[in-house]
């Protein structure tokens, strides 16, 4: 277990949430006796992540992603189960452990609100005992990569959300952690900056062999960075494996894109017989067909229509993920105790 960067065994976090009905009588009753309800934010999660891996951590809102990251970073005590990160028990929050990790969350966190960014950096340098030369080097790297130059002397409260996020990422990496827990690191950033952050995380991983566990709402982040994805829902493991395997496993359909050569007035009628027509215009058509019927459908299209070009594609990852969550919602219903998932 100690060779792993992250290992959890049946990790569980249960919150007790006060329940109160509306109305005066209920308010008075709650004065005397409080009723609480257990919410299983993380419900028996077992994971292992090897050093140097970049893993995407996916799930709908409220799936337990952030709670899991907080337990891995030592901010939350697990209700039960085991966690080790780099051989440490995170909740003990030993300095030797804290110096090796970082957690970036999409909110203000390490930066001091009222003072220039550079002062926050300096504070973290001393707190993490980063030698001056190494600090200078890392800071130069970060500043050029994230374009921090103009921001360094501004008080944090004057920064825009995107600027703040860049600075949060920079300050979280000044001590060169071996594990990065990134919770929505690109939220609020424009597309160019998202791409830069992605490139930066990949580069950091390559250069330092750091382990990265990343949640994101942008599938582009996950597709660009993560070979492996872990999908959780209702705090339980739904899928753990390669991104391509996730798509293969959960996509029930394929899309066939066709470029028609010349006129084919009956094209729509033909395609509607074969599958679900997603779009058809200007001689270009997209059809969705069940995966098992891909070969037959392709043959039929080639035989009946004047095809210039044809390609069979997996649906976009976004759609697949959406489908995974939708199907589990349908299968289990919210709050149903019997959600089994399809853990792999």
């Amino acid at each position: 277990m100690n060779d792993l960067a992250v290992a959890t065994v049946r990790l569980r976090k249960t919150y007790q949430v006060p329940v109160r009905q509306s109305g005066i009588a209920a308010s008075l009753r709650s004065l005397v006796r409080r009723t609480t309800r257990d919410v299983h934010a993380v419900d028996g999660l077992s994971l292992s992540i090897a050093p140097g891996e970049i893993t995407g951590f996916l799930g709908p809102n409220g799936a337990g992603k952030t709670t899991t990251l907080k337990m891995l970073a030592g901010l939350l005590y697990p209700t039960s189960g085991e966690v080790t990160v780099l051989g440490h028990v995170p909740s003990r929050r030993e300095p030797a452990f804290l110096r090796q990790i970082t957690l970036v969350m999409g909110q203000r966190n390490q930066l001091q609100w009222d003072i220039p960014v550079a002062d926050s950096f300096e504070l973290n340098r001393t707190v993490y005992r980063v030698p001056a030369a190494a600090f200078r080097r890392t800071l130069d790297d970060l500043a050029s990569l994230l374009d921090l130059g103009p921001l360094m002397m501004k008080p944090v409260r004057q920064l825009s959300l995107g600027e703040r996020m860049k600075c949060e990422i920079a300050v979280a990496l000044l001590h060169q952690p071996r594990i990065l827990f990134l919770d929505e690191p690109t939220i609020g950033l424009d597309v160019t900056m998202q791409r830069r952050i992605r490139a930066f995380v990949a580069e950091y991983n390559r250069r330092h062999g750091a382990t990265v566990l990343l949640t994101s709402h942008y599938m582009a982040d996950v597709e660009a960075l993560c070979k492996r994805v872990i999908v959780i829902h209702h705090g339980r493991l739904l899928f753990d494996g390669e991104l391509s395997a996730l798509v293969a496993r959960f996509s029930t359909h394929k899309t066939i894109a066709i470029d028609l050569d010349g006129d084919a007035p009956d094209a729509r009628a033909v395609l509607e017989r074969i599958g679900e027509v997603v779009s058809i215009e200007d001689g270009h058509a997209v059809v969705r067909v069940p995966k098992s019927q891909t070969a037959r459908a392709t043959g039929e299209i080639l035989a009946t229509l004047p095809v210039a070009d044809l390609s069979v594609e997996d649906p976009p990852v976004d759609d697949v993920i959406e489908r995974v969550f939708a199907s589990t919602r349908d299968a289990t219903g919210d709050g149903d105790a019997s959600h089994e998932g399809v853990a792999g």
């Binding site: 919150y15 907080k70 970073a73 030592g74 901010l75 939350l76 005590y77 909740s91 929050r93 300095p95 030797a96 804290l98 110096r99 990790i101 970082t102 957690l103 969350m105 909110q107 203000r108 966190n109 390490q110 001091q112 609100w113 009222d114 003072i115 220039p116 002062d119 926050s120 300096e122 504070l123 973290n124 340098r125 001393t126 707190v127 993490y128 005992r129 008080p155």
Partner: protein, 267 residues
Amino acid sequence: MIDWISIYRAQFAVTFGAQLQYRASLAIWLLGLVLAPVISLVVWTTVAASGGGQAGGFSQGEFAAYFLALLVANHLTFTWVAWDFEFRVRNGSLSGQLLRPVDPIHANIADNVTYKVITLLAVVPATAVLAWAFEPAADTSWLNLVLFLPVVALAATLRFLVEYSLAMAAFWTTRVFAINDLYYVPLFFFSGQLVPLALLPDWVRAVGNLLPFRWMLSFPVEVAIGRVAPSEVPIGVACQLAWIGAFLVVRSMAWRHGVRRYSAVGA
């Protein structure tokens, strides 16, 4: 070995910058800190004047000396750590501090000391003006004034630890204000902010000696104005140290258990 000097130097730079950003609110806080003892000063010098220049063994000038020393000592021992801590637990910004390999208490200590240093620049002239206006008189010695310094430092340490321990309640309830209100009543009374403890009945003073409040504020004031002889100071210091020891234990136990309950709201 942790390099505390560097950490504190950097922390001071941060809190210094942060507090100077809010000069207006700093001034308002300061005004409140100066006004409260001035009101007591006016009331009690008036009482003394109507009682033929004396009330409970205090002359007008002695009341003035008492409340001016109280003003300075209250400023030096005052903390807002409970309020601050509750805020950080409630909005989740404690998380950022918990991720760092240094106990968050050091940020609070630095914050407190910086605030004192900055505001002392205003408290000293304010006290001087009030001294000119109210003409304090005290039968004190140089030794008493010198002893005031370590005694007020211990009082500040104790008050900080007591209020930090109370602040830990934020881990259990996100409404610490109610507990604070409960704390401020005996503090106001037994720390000598309302009246000098010397004016209270013997049995009340006896009770007060057993509580931590006198040692958090009144004691350094009594030393400064010569109401405690230098030879009696060691007993008081022993009481201060005993309470400091007790609250070091309380705070570290409350911290250990509290952090387990921390639910890292939001951030």
